[in-house]
Structures are given as structure tokens and as C-alpha cells.
Symmetry: C2
Subunit: 233 residues, 2 copies
DNA sequence: CCTCAACTGACATATTGTGTCAGTTGAGGT
DNA sequence: ACCTCAACTGACACAATATGTCAGTTGAGG
């Protein structure tokens, strides 16, 4: 195995977010431990955020690494359009992320002669409702990490309630965002408009995927319901 | 200079879309020509689409290369959301490109333990109007390559006309797409709804950016107009 | 103060990369 | 048909780099 391949392999191994001992990595790649130390040095020197702790092991910090990646022009256009829309249609955190993505991609794509300066897209007419985005970063984090949320919700017919939910997915409907969740008050799936949440905070409790209460179950339930509706008509 | 750095350098050099001789590359990197041939072998072997032609030189084919890139979770979410929207809201060519982008990113992002299987986004409620997308791939190509287009257009008050335009940018309005262009019939900027174009074909003529007729001029004109409107009120 | 595992330095050895040289090949021009 | 150009290939000696072994040091946690 080539050195360069091995470096990529180490990133792959460490990327699962768990602890890894230099010894295990060395065994997996069939090289000596010393070589692993040297390789990790090289990786860290070229910017890969690997943390090593004495007596503990190695861990990759947050970022996900994309290997050198070939995107065609059309794919770059899709990317550029998508990021333009996100900049109009989502909360500030995602807006900033979209800008960051375009910067990372752009700085390398733009030093080609044949590449146009402007990517030829404009995106308008998404009504900005900044208020409605207020809770989105928290909700996204809760979905990622499996955290229960307590929300004060005002339904469309103006009834207020406080519930604990297990957030599963957010949906974008062109203008408004909803969050689908397992509702512990009703003991079933519910979709909540994010702009109708008066308040939203983590309960401090985490939840594990549980049969019957996962996003897959929810999507299946919706699909079944659609089938039944069609049978009726 | 390290071999790995040098390989990256060669990609940088060749990326400008012009011809390069192995000799020139060798001079620029202060290595022998033989080494350049070997390096280019290596690059081609790892998938970089460099074309060499005997007696001519080297050329990089279409793709743009992104270097190993670190994306944070939030940036990945922005990407994922954007691609999901593009899959709903654009023509088939862009849809396919969006899928391809997610596949490229996904195959590397998804073998992390902490990464959720679903990225927690759903996108709905973009009315698909496949007919309206018919001319989009051609228009995008025309914008990229600076090609004049002849269109049969039906305006919203049902008047038909045939014009030659210099397409500058496409805009997405949530439901419909428009194309802003310099109209050679009216000798001024016009925006056309792409779904209202009955027919659309390249004239075969190309155009160069020309003072007063570029996308920058157009955007500036719109900005000026907005200022005037505000003064009036 | 003991253990664990990350880390460092030194040195011989194995592997890989590089330049030089001497060719071959294919396309385009004369 | 022949020439030129520049991509390409193979071989070989030599230079640079990577690797394993060994013998340490360091910092955190028990």
C-alpha cells in the first residue's frame, strides 16, 4: 500500500468519531506504530484536525473531509443554485454555512479561464420570515444528537399547548418550515410549524431510536395513509 | 518541493483550460520532463482527467477539482438542503447533478457513526412544471459559452414575438424561472419567463461581454431603478 | 508512583522517486 | 514519403524518502 493511500485510510478509520489507538491503526494497515505516529504528524501538518491524547487515543474533531472531488460544470451549477436558495430560504446559521460552502468551492473553481464569474443564477421571492427561523439551529442540533425538546406551541386554530417532542426531521414547504416529531403528549407523530413555536428548549433528556417512533416509521405511516386515500377515491 | 505538493501544482497549472507542454511544466516545477510524465501518469491513474496529445500538449478536461475539503456539519446540512430543493425545483439535468453531488459527498460523509442516516430534511410543495424546464439546459449552456439564442416568446398578455437575445442569467422565483438577457429586438434588457418560450435555439453566433450589455450593467440598472422608486414614495 | 499510550530521536535498511539517455509513437505539416 | 514536434516508454544508477527497531520521554488518570 502506498503512503498516500495509507494517509487517506487513516482519515477514513478515524472519521467514525470514536477513539482509536495508534496500535490498532498500525495493525489495520500492517505498518509499525512508529509509522502511524509519523503519518498522523503529516496529516495534522496538512490541516486534518486529529486530536491525540496521551494514554487515550486518537479522535477526529468535527469536520468531515471530502477527498479531492471532481464536480462537472453542471454539478457546480446545481451546487451554486442550491446554496443561493438556502441563502434566501433558511435561518442565519444555514445561510452562513451556504456562504462558506460557496467560498470553499468557489476559490478553487474560479481560477479557470472558462468559468464564468457569475454562475448565472438569481434567487428571489422567498419571503424572509426571520422570526420563523428562530428555533431552527436548536432543532437541527436536537435531531442530530437525539435530544428531546419542550415546546410551547400555538396551533393554527389558536390553541396553545406545551409538549415534549422527539424531533425527527425538518421539512421545507417553500415558505414555511415544519418539524416532524414523535409527540410524547399525544403519543403519536405530529408535524409542527417552526414559526408557530413560541418557545423551544432541550429538556436535557436524550432519546434513542425506538421501534415505531423513528423517522422511517413516520414516513412509512404517511405512505400507507396516501395509499388508503387513493383507494377511497 | 514534495512530490504530493508537486502533483497538486500540476493540476493547478493545467486547470486554466489551456494547452501546456510537459517541458514548460517541468521548467516551472524545476524537475525533469521525465518526472512530469511520471507525475501525470500518477494523476491520470487517480482519476484526474488530463488529456495528452502527441505533438500538442496537455489539457484538463471538463471537471473542476476540489481539493480535500473540510465541511462542518452545518455546512453539510446546508449542502444537503440545497440539493434536496434543487431536486424538486429544477430541470432534469440539474436534478441529476444534484443527486450526483449528494452521492459524491455522501459516500464519504455517511461512514461516520455520529452522522445521521437521513440528513433531516424534507422538501415539498414546489409544483413541478416539467414543461417549463424544457429549455433550461440549453439556456445554461448559452450563458456559459456566450451564445446568442433565437426565441419564440409569448408574453403574458398573449402577444407572440421572435427575438434574438444574449442570455445573461437565470432567476428562480420559487415557482417559475426567468432568463434575463439583452434583447436585440428591443435593444435593452428584458427578462423572459422560460416556460413562456415556445421555441429556443442557438443562432450559431457567439457574443462577447460588451460595455452596457453585461449582467453587471443589468444589475446596476435595476438597483438604480429601485433607488428612484424609493425617492418617489 | 504506576500504567497507559501518545510522542520523540537515532540509525540502519528498504522502498520510492528522479535524472539521464536512448529510444518509439501518432498527428500535422511540407 | 518524409520531417518535426512533443507525448510517451524502458532501463539503469543514484538520490531522497519512508520504514522498522530500539530506547527513551511526557502527560493524564487511577
Amino acid at each position: 500500500m502506498q503512503r498516500s493511500e495509507r494517509l487517506a485510510e487513516i482519515v477514513e478509520i478515524v472519521r467514525d468519531g470514536r477513539l482509536h489507538l495508534a496500535r490498532d491503526i498500525a495493525d489495520a494497515l500492517e505498518v509499525s506504530v512508529r509509522t502511524v505516529y509519523r503519518d498522523i504528524d503529516t496529516l495534522v501538518a496538512s490541516g486534518v484536525p486529529i486530536d491525540g491524547e496521551r494514554g487515550v487515543g486518537y479522535l477526529l474533531r468535527e469536520p468531515v473531509f471530502l477527498p479531492p472531488m471532481a464536480l462537472s460544470f453542471t454539478e457546480l451549477e446545481a451546487l451554486s443554485l442550491g446554496m443561493a436558495i438556502v441563502q434566501e430560504a433558511a435561518d442565519e446559521e444555514l445561510q452562513a454555512a451556504a456562504v462558506a460552502v460557496m467560498n470553499k468551492v468557489g476559490e478553487h473553481a474560479s481560477n479557470r479561464r472558462q468559468a464564468p464569474k457569475s454562475w448565472g443564477f438569481g434567487v428571489y421571492a422567498f419571503e424572509r420570515a426571520q422570526e420563523g427561523f428562530r428555533h431552527m439551529p436548536l432543532i437541527r442540533r436536537a435531531i442530530r444528537e437525539g435530544l428531546k425538546l419542550r415546546i410551547d406551541y400555538r396551533s393554527l386554530d389558536d390553541r396553545n399547548s406545551t409538549r415534549v417532542i422527539r424531533p425527527l426531521q425538518t421539512e421545507f414547504w417553500g415558505r414555511v418550515w415544519t418539524c416532524s416529531a414523535w409527540c410524547e403528549l399525544r403519543n403519536s407523530f405530529r408535524a409542527f410549524r417552526i414559526d408557530q413555536m413560541q418557545h423551544c428548549e432541550p429538556t436535557g433528556e436524550a432519546f434513542q431510536p425506538e421501534t415505531g417512533k423513528t423517522i422511517e416509521d413516520y414516513l412509512k405511516q404517511i405512505a400507507d395513509q396516501m395509499d388508503r386515500d387513493q383507494d377511497r377515491s
